[in-house]
């Protein structure tokens, strides 16, 4: 037997021993375990009953919801509205294609050894939005036009988050570079821009975009409500993005800057070829985390009258035909957001672990 084949013994505790060390190590822990265990047993049972065992899944209308549990029938019947908003039924295949492409581009990112996943990711950042700009609004290539006032539900949430993050990335890079610039005027402008946007709540930004933007523009120029919201979200998000990227720029050792200078590279080539590729790689987890918070914050657009997924649910639970379906609606939205956010955050944690070289400065 060679030395490399000897493995360390696996430490395995018998269940009783495990419970004694992890649950009942002293009187205080025992008391805690009992109290928490009691609370769990008394709450999880009824919760599961409500969620699954007593819930109504089948039926044709509100009158079928007679059980004590949740009325998932409501979600089932309104699912189309929750996902597509007012998007016409006959054109929903266009949105479906976008969902499929989105999944094709980003699900492989979770799989370590997927062939060509880097290229799929790049496609997701470049080709996908272009296809989306053609498919979803339509109006060209013989596609029927669907106005943005008809977009809604999960689809709108994803559009807002996706365009928000994609548009704010380049602006954020420029702002971060500007904040670290040697030129005092540029630095000052960038600092003021970043700090002002970061200090105000998104809701005031959205209000401003919907109330003040029309005032700023010359006569005859106007944007749709969705475009105004997107402008507000992008500007606000770019300030946060700039701070994340600045963190990456600061983490690059001075030697890299000096080496690039010594090679005689100009400013943009130094940044584009040497500094930014390293800095951006460092802050991918940060960018992903910003994305998660932006994704959650897109729900705020319902306040200025856009029907994102929460807005769609909020407007249907007020429907007098369905009694007391508020909790079901909220649980459904919460579940949708949770799946996305939890999945993405796991991805970013994996990435962090992979990018962690072990030596921190």
């Amino acid at each position: 037997m060679t030395e490399s084949m000897i493995r360390p013994p696996i430490k395995k505790l018998a269940p009783v021993k495990w419970m004694r060390t992890h649950l009942f190590s002293n009187w205080f822990n025992s008391l805690l375990t009992l109290a928490v265990g009691y609370l769990l047993i008394t709450s999880v049972g009824p919760l599961l009953n409500w969620l699954i065992f007593d819930a109504t899944f089948q039926g044709s209308g509100p009158d079928d919801c007679v059980e004590a549990g949740a009325c998932w029938l409501f979600v089932k019947q309104r699912l189309n509205f929750f996902i597509y908003g007012f998007y016409p039924d006959e054109f929903q295949w266009r949105v479906d294609i976008m969902f499929a492409l989105l999944a094709a581009a980003f699900v492989p990112q979770f799989i370590e050894r997927f062939p060509g996943r880097k290229w799929l990711g790049i496609f997701g950042m470049t080709g996908l939005p272009i296809i989306g700009c053609v498919l979803i609004p339509g109006g060209i290539l013989g596609l029927e036009e669907v106005g943005s006032s008809k977009w809604g539900g999960l689809m709108l949430t994803l559009i807002l988050a996706y365009i928000g993050i994609l548009a704010s990335l380049p602006i954020g890079v420029l702002l971060a570079l500007g904040r670290r610039s040697d030129m005092p005027v540029i630095r000052g402008l960038c600092v003021v821009f970043i700090e002002v946007w970061r200090a105000v709540p998104l809701i005031t930004v959205l209000f401003m975009a919907s109330v003040m933007l029309p005032l700023f523009l010359p006569d005859g120029v106007s944007f749709e409500k969705l475009a105004r919201a997107l402008i507000g979200i992008t500007l606000w998000q770019s300030a946060y993005m700039a701070e994340v990227i600045r963190g990456g720029l600061q983490a690059i050792p001075r030697g890299q800057y000096e080496a690039a200078n010594a090679l005689g590279l100009g400013y943009w080539r130094k940044m584009g070829l040497v500094i930014l590729p390293q800095a951006l790689k460092l802050v991918i987890p940060g960018i992903v985390n910003t994305f998660i918070s932006l994704f959650k914050d897109t729900t705020l657009v319902l306040i200025i009258g856009l029907f994102d997924i929460l807005g769609a649910v909020q407007s249907t639970i007020a429907d007098p035909a369905w009694q007391n379906v508020a909790i079901e609606g909220y649980v459904f939205v919460a579940f949708c957001f949770w799946v996305f956010c939890f999945g993405i955050s796991r991805y970013s944690q994996n990435l962090e672990r992979k990018l962690d070289t072990g030596h921190k400065t």
């Binding site: 105000v200 709540p201 209000f207 003040m212 029309p214 705020l300 909220y330 939205v333 949770w338």
Partner: protein, 415 residues
């Protein structure tokens, strides 16, 4: 005198770069680049251009705005702040009624924002620290419950949580007649949370005096105890004595003054409760949601802060013979706080900014009252939005300033 090595180098350089044996002048000063390639000239140029661009964009925006406002008949200036508002607000900490001015609505909104922010910060901090410590508990069940709480709560949008508490939980509470009652003093129903309110009688000033006296005494004891410890090495139980002083002195004063404190209990009068302190459901929903949501982030910050203190520190402290409590108080917590404070500050800032979601459920905060109703009634969007943004900017800067000062006090003192 030129060192010999350098002459050789100069000679070589001359022979390689110079053409033939022409007269070689060696000038060690770098000749400056042409103005077009001079970094300083370029920097100046870019800055002037960008400044000009910013001024131009600003001028165009202002020009557009002014002409738009003129064509729509919107007046400018802050004169509207003095006009009568004419709308009621369901909750106000400063005296207010519909006849008062728009300026007053600003203060009502601001105090409401500050109230819910302060309440949220206190409860979120307590809850966050408890959950963060629970996450590191040696008790498997407690640690897992804390983990599940964090992972669920922080991955669900705050607005959804506010809606959940307001529309799904608080609206479904029983009516005032069937209120949930705790000890005959605390009532919860779909109109809000009713708490007993303290009514201060004459002579309560004595108690306030005792509180001030106790605070002074605590400071005195600390100074004295530190001096004594430096001189003799004996440790004085400062903490216990301070607590005792803070509780006993006001208590003694309270009894001497003849118990000058009465409680105004809420009671059912007709269809609703009267007396005591009323927390409207909008406030309760916002408070619960903000606290629970922010607590999940604070818990992660606390956890990473405690984990950042290396095991060696604890072991060294044990080796010095410090008991567990002192190890925690003198070694672990001070070092963990250094890691915790900066992200904690940004969570507080987030909480203040998130309190503006109040407008979605109708809690009269600054955004709902001032940027909502007042803006709609006056139409003076520019002034109102500018004031509101300035307030949030000021709050942010103030919180960062205080936290930076505190951070400087606890930061590592490097020599």
């Amino acid at each position: 005198m030129i060192p010999p090595g350098l002459t050789v180098m100069l000679f070589l350089q001359g022979s390689f770069s110079g053409r033939g044996m022409k007269k070689q002048t060696i000038d060690s000063r770098p000749t400056g680049p042409k103005p077009l390639y001079d970094p300083r000239v370029r920097a100046l140029f870019f800055q002037v251009i960008s400044l000009a661009a910013v001024f131009w964009v600003g001028w165009v925006l202002i020009d557009n705005t002014l002409s738009n406002m003129q064509s729509r008949g919107i007046s400018t200036g802050f004169g509207f702040l003095g006009e009568s508002a004419g709308f009621g607000i369901i909750m106000h900490l400063v005296p207010y009624d519909a006849t008062m001015s728009y300026g007053r609505t600003f203060w009502v909104g601001l105090t409401n924002t500050l109230l819910v922010s302060a309440m949220g910060i206190v409860t979120a901090t307590i809850l966050g620290f408890v959950i963060g410590v629970a996450r590191l508990s040696s008790n498997w069940l407690v640690a897992k419950v804390a983990l599940v709480y964090i992972e669920i709560i922080r991955n669900i949008p705050l607005l959804l949580q506010i809606f959940f508490w307001y529309f799904a939980v608080l609206s479904n509470l029983p009516s005032p007649r069937q209120s949930v009652e705790v000890g005959g003093a605390l009532f919860l129903n779909n109109r809000g949370l009713y708490l007993p309110g303290p009514v201060l009688q004459d002579g309560f000033g004595l108690v306030w005096g005792a509180v001030v006296l106790a605070l002074v005494a605590v400071v005195g004891v600390r100074v004295w105890a530190k001096k004594r410890q430096l001189a003799t090495g004996d440790i004085f139980p400062t903490f216990k004595v301070s607590i005792a002083l803070l509780i006993l002195l006001p208590l003694v004063a309270y009894f001497i003054a003849g118990r000058p404190l009465e409680w105004d209990l809420p009671a059912l009068k007709g269809f609703n409760f009267g007396g005591g302190i009323t927390l409207i459901p909008e406030l309760v929903a916002l408070w619960i949601a903000l606290s629970l949501y922010t607590a999940s982030f604070i818990a992660e910050i606390v956890r990473s802060g405690i984990l950042s203190v290396s095991q060696g520190q604890t072991e060294a402290s044990k080796a010095l013979g410090l008991p567990n409590g002192l190890t925690l108080r003198l070694v672990v917590i001070p070092q963990a706080m250094r890691v915790i404070i900066p992200p904690l500050t940004s969570q507080y800032l987030n909480l203040v900014k998130n309190s503006s979601l109040a407008t979605a459920i109708g809690y009269p905060d600054l955004v709902a009252v001032f940027m909502g109703t007042t803006l709609n009634q006056t139409g003076q969007a520019v002034e109102v939005v500018a004031i509101t943004m300035a307030v949030y900017l000021t709050i942010s800067l103030l919180i960062s300033l205080f936290m930076n000062l505190y951070n400087r006090a606890v930061a590592i003192k490097e020599r």
